[in-house]
C-alpha cells in the first residue's frame, strides 16, 4: 500500500442534484456525504448547454465549453454540406484563386457522402486539452476511471479505464494496455458489470416493466462496487497526484425511478412501488458507503471534490419534435417507419439508426438524437439539391425558432422554453459542428426523434430528466468549512483541481478559480498561479501535426482531381 495518497480526488456523481442529496442527508440516508458537506464547502454547479453527460463532463475536464471542445452529444454528426465548406476553406487556405474550381472539386469529393450521418463521439473529437493531459505533461500522474468520451484512451502518465465502452472491447481501450491484466486479477472483475455501454445508455431513459426495476437498481449497486474495487486498487497501488472516478448510477436511477426517489411526487403506493422506493434508498445508502471508503483510501491529506455534470428533475411530457417538423412541412419520414407506441425517445441502437428514419430528399431539418435536443438543418449545396438554400438559411432558422416557441401540449402548456441558435449556445471555433438549433423544453425533458401519432403527449409516468444545476462539494486540507455557497460554473472545477495538484491554471481556460471554496490562509501561502496556454494533445489526432496531415489528405484528393497544383 502506498504511503502517499493523491493530492486531489475527483469523485463524479453523474446527475446528482442537491434536491435529492440534501434530503437524503437530512433523513440520515447518506451520513458520510453530510459529514463531507459540513466539513467543507458546497455550491450548486451550473452546467453547460446541453446538460448532457458527454458535453458536460468534457467541459469539466477541459475547463472550456462545447463551442471550444467540440463535444455536443454522445454522437458526432457530419453534414455533407458542412464538410464541403470545410474542404473549400482548406483549399482556399492552400492558395487557390479559382473559386468555381474549388467548389466543383469539393463537391466531387463529397459526392459519395450521405446527406447527414453520425457516429459515436470519441476522444479524438475533443478539440481541447484535458486535465489528464495538462497534468501528465507537467509530471503529474493521473488515474481516470469511468469518464465518458475516453475512447481511444489518452496516453497519460498513469491509468485510464474509460466509461461508456462496450464491455466486449474493454481490453482494447484500457491504458496502459497491461492494466487490463491487472483488472482481470481483481476478485470482483466482471467487464459486463463494470462498463455501461452506449446502447444500454439509450435504454436507460425508457420506461421499465414492473418486474425489471429490482434488477436495474441492483445492477447499478454492483457497478458502483466494481468501480470501487478498481479505485481501491489504484489508490493502494498507483501513486497518483490526481485520481478521478465517476459513479454514474445516480443518473441511471433518477431517469427511471425519479418518482420513487423524489418523494414529493407520490404518496400512496402499491406494494411493488414501495419495494422500489426501498431499493432506491438502499442504493444511496450503499453509494454513501462507497464514497466514504474511497475518501478513506485516499487519506486525510487528499483534497476531495465531489461533482456532478448536471442536475435532475421530473418530466411529464414527451415532444416528438420530428412529428411536429413533419406536420409543418419540414420533414418526410422514410418509407416504412413505424409509429412509436412505447413513449420512447429514440431507436434502440443509438449509434446508427436515426438518420435512416428520414427521406433526406424531402427533409430540410430533423432531430437526429434525443440527448442534445438539437435540430440539424439540411443546407443545399446547389439549387438542384434538396434542402434549404444557403441564402435562406437565416430566415429559415428564425422562422422555425418562432414557431417552435408556440408549440403547446394537450394540457395547453407551452412545450418549448427556449430555442438557441448555435452561435448563441456554442460560441467558439467548434460551433460549426453543433446542431443549428438547440431546444430547451419547458420541463427540461428530452425530445423523441421517433414517429408518433401526435407531436406532444403526456407521459404515463413521471420520469427524471437532466436539469442545468448539478452539485459541487469540496473538503479536505485547505478547503474552507463555508457550507453552501453561491453558484459555481462547471468550468470553474478544472482550475480548482489544477491548483490542488500544484499546477498553474492555463490562461486560456474559460472558468474562474473558485477561491471562495478555499481557506484564506491556504490561498495566502499557496496562491493560484496563471500559466501558459493549454497545448494540443499528444495522442489525439486533433493535434497540429495530425490536423495538418488531414489537410494534406484533402489536398491530395483535390490534387488528384486536378484542382490543386
Amino acid at each position: 500500500v502506498n504511503a502517499r495518497g493523491p493530492r486531489a480526488l475527483l469523485i463524479g456523481l453523474d446527475g446528482a442534484t442537491f434536491d435529492v442529496l440534501d434530503r437524503l442527508v437530512a433523513e440520515g440516508t447518506m451520513p458520510f456525504l453530510g459529514t463531507l458537506m459540513s466539513s467543507g464547502s458546497s455550491a450548486r454547479l451550473r452546467t453547460v448547454v446541453p446538460p448532457l453527460t458527454p458535453p458536460a463532463w468534457t467541459s469539466l475536464v477541459t475547463g472550456v465549453p462545447p463551442g471550444r471542445h467540440g463535444i455536443f452529444d454522445f454522437v458526432r454528426v457530419t453534414r455533407r454540406a458542412e464538410e464541403e465548406r470545410e474542404l473549400v476553406a482548406i483549399h482556399r487556405s492552400a492558395g487557390s484563386s479559382d473559386a468555381e474550381a474549388v467548389r466543383r472539386a469539393a463537391e466531387t469529393v463529397q459526392e459519395s457522402r450521405p446527406t447527414m450521418q453520425y457516429r459515436m463521439a470519441t476522444s479524438t473529437d475533443i478539440a481541447a486539452e484535458t486535465l489528464w493531459s495538462m497534468a501528465s505533461r507537467q509530471d503529474r500522474r493521473v488515474a481516470v476511471l469511468n469518464f465518458p468520451v475516453g475512447i481511444p484512451p489518452e496516453h497519460v502518465e498513469g491509468v485510464v479505464v474509460p466509461g461508456f465502452a462496450p464491455w466486449r472491447h474493454l481490453r482494447r481501450v484500457v491504458w496502459p494496455v497491461t492494466f487490463y491484466d491487472v483488472l482481470r486479477q481483481l476478485p470482483g472483475f466482471r467487464p459486463e458489470e463494470l462498463v455501461f455501454d452506449i446502447e444500454r445508455e439509450r435504454r436507460a431513459i425508457q420506461e421499465l416493466a414492473i418486474d425489471e426495476y429490482d434488477e436495474w437498481i441492483d445492477f447499478h449497486v454492483r457497478r458502483e462496487e466494481r468501480w470501487l474495487e478498481v479505485a481501491t486498487h489504484v489508490l493502494q497501488n498507483e501513486e497518483c497526484d490526481l485520481v478521478a472516478v465517476l459513479f454514474d448510477g445516480v443518473d441511471k436511477l433518477q431517469h427511471i425511478c425519479w418518482r420513487f426517489i423524489d418523494t414529493d411526487v407520490h404518496t400512496v403506493r402499491p406494494e411493488w412501488e414501495q419495494r422500489v422506493v426501498e431499493r432506491c434508498r438502499a442504493y444511496y445508502v450503499r453509494l454513501d458507503e462507497i464514497l466514504a471508503e474511497t475518501v478513506r483510501l485516499a487519506g486525510p491529506e487528499t483534497r476531495v471534490f465531489v461533482v456532478s455534470d448536471h442536475g435532475f428533475g421530473p418530466t411529464g411530457r414527451l415532444f416528438y419534435v420530428n412529428v411536429w417538423l413533419h406536420r409543418n412541412g419540414c420533414l418526410t419520414w422514410a418509407a416504412g417507419v413505424d409509429l412509436d407506441d412505447a413513449q420512447r425517445v429514440g431507436p434502440e441502437e443509438i449509434t446508427r439508426s436515426s438518420v435512416a428514419l428520414f427521406d433526406w430528399s424531402r427533409t430540410t431539418v430533423a432531430a437526429l438524437t434525443s440527448g442534445s435536443n438539437g435540430l440539424y438543418v439540411n443546407v443545399a449545396r446547389h439549387p438542384e439539391e434538396p434542402g434549404v438554400p444557403p441564402e435562406e438559411y437565416e430566415d429559415f432558422c428564425e422562422a422555425l425558432r418562432r414557431r417552435l416557441l408556440g408549440v403547446r401540449a394537450p394540457d395547453g402548456r407551452l412545450v418549448v422554453a427556449e430555442v438557441l441558435r448555435r452561435e448563441e449556445a456554442f460560441p467558439g471555433p467548434q460551433q460549426h459542428r453543433a446542431p443549428d438549433l438547440t431546444l430547451r423544453l419547458a420541463d427540461n425533458g428530452f425530445v423523441s426523434v421517433l414517429n408518433a401519432a401526435e407531436p406532444v403527449l403526456l407521459r404515463r409516468e413521471t420520469l427524471g430528466t437532466h436539469h442545468p444545476h448539478g452539485v459541487l462539494l469540496a473538503a479536505g486540507p485547505g478547503i474552507a468549512a463555508a457550507g453552501r455557497l453561491d453558484e459555481v460554473s462547471i468550468l470553474d472545477v478544472a482550475p480548482a483541481l489544477l491548483h490542488s495538484i500544484g499546477l498553474p491554471v492555463p490562461c486560456d481556460l474559460e472558468g474562474r478559480f473558485p477561491g471562495e471554496l478555499f481557506e484564506p490562509d491556504a490561498l495566502a501561502t499557496d496562491p493560484p498561479q496563471v500559466g501558459p496556454r493549454t497545448v494540443a494533445r499528444t495522442t489525439a489526432p486533433h493535434d497540429d501535426a495530425a490536423e495538418t496531415a488531414g489537410e494534406e489528405q484533402v489536398a491530395q484528393r483535390l490534387k488528384a482531381l486536378g484542382y490543386l497544383e
Partner: protein, 98 residues
C-alpha cells in the same frame, strides 16, 4: 517497399484481419476457417453497430488517420448497408489511404 496496388491491398487486409482478431479474441466465435476476405462483420462475427464503431476507432488508430469517410462504406443512398465484409473494408481503405 513494394508499392504495387495488389501488395498494398494485401498489407491492408492483413492489418484489418489482425484488428478483427484482437477485437474478437474474447468473443468465443465459431469460425473454422478464421477471418478471411469474405468474412462478414455482421453475420459471421456478430458485430452490432457499436462494434462497428469500435472497429472504425481501431482502424483510425492503427493507420494513424482520422476522419476517413467511413459513411460512404457504411451507407448507400442514405441507408445503412446490411453487411460489410473484410474485402469491402480493404477496398475502401485501399482507395482512401494515401
Amino acid at each position: 517497399m513494394d508499392t504495387r496496388p495488389e501488395s498494398r491491398q494485401h498489407e491492408i487486409r492483413q492489418e484489418i484481419t489482425r484488428i478483427l482478431r484482437e477485437m474478437t479474441a474474447d468473443w468465443e466465435l465459431d469460425l473454422p476457417d478464421g477471418i478471411r476476405g469474405s468474412t462478414g462483420l455482421i453475420t459471421d462475427l456478430g458485430c452490432e453497430s457499436i462494434d462497428i464503431v469500435m472497429f472504425i476507432v481501431a482502424i483510425e488508430e492503427r493507420f494513424g488517420r482520422k476522419g476517413l469517410p467511413f459513411e460512404s462504406l457504411l451507407m448507400n443512398d442514405d441507408r445503412y448497408v446490411g453487411e460489410l465484409t473484410v474485402d469491402d473494408v480493404t477496398g475502401f481503405l485501399a482507395r482512401e489511404l494515401p
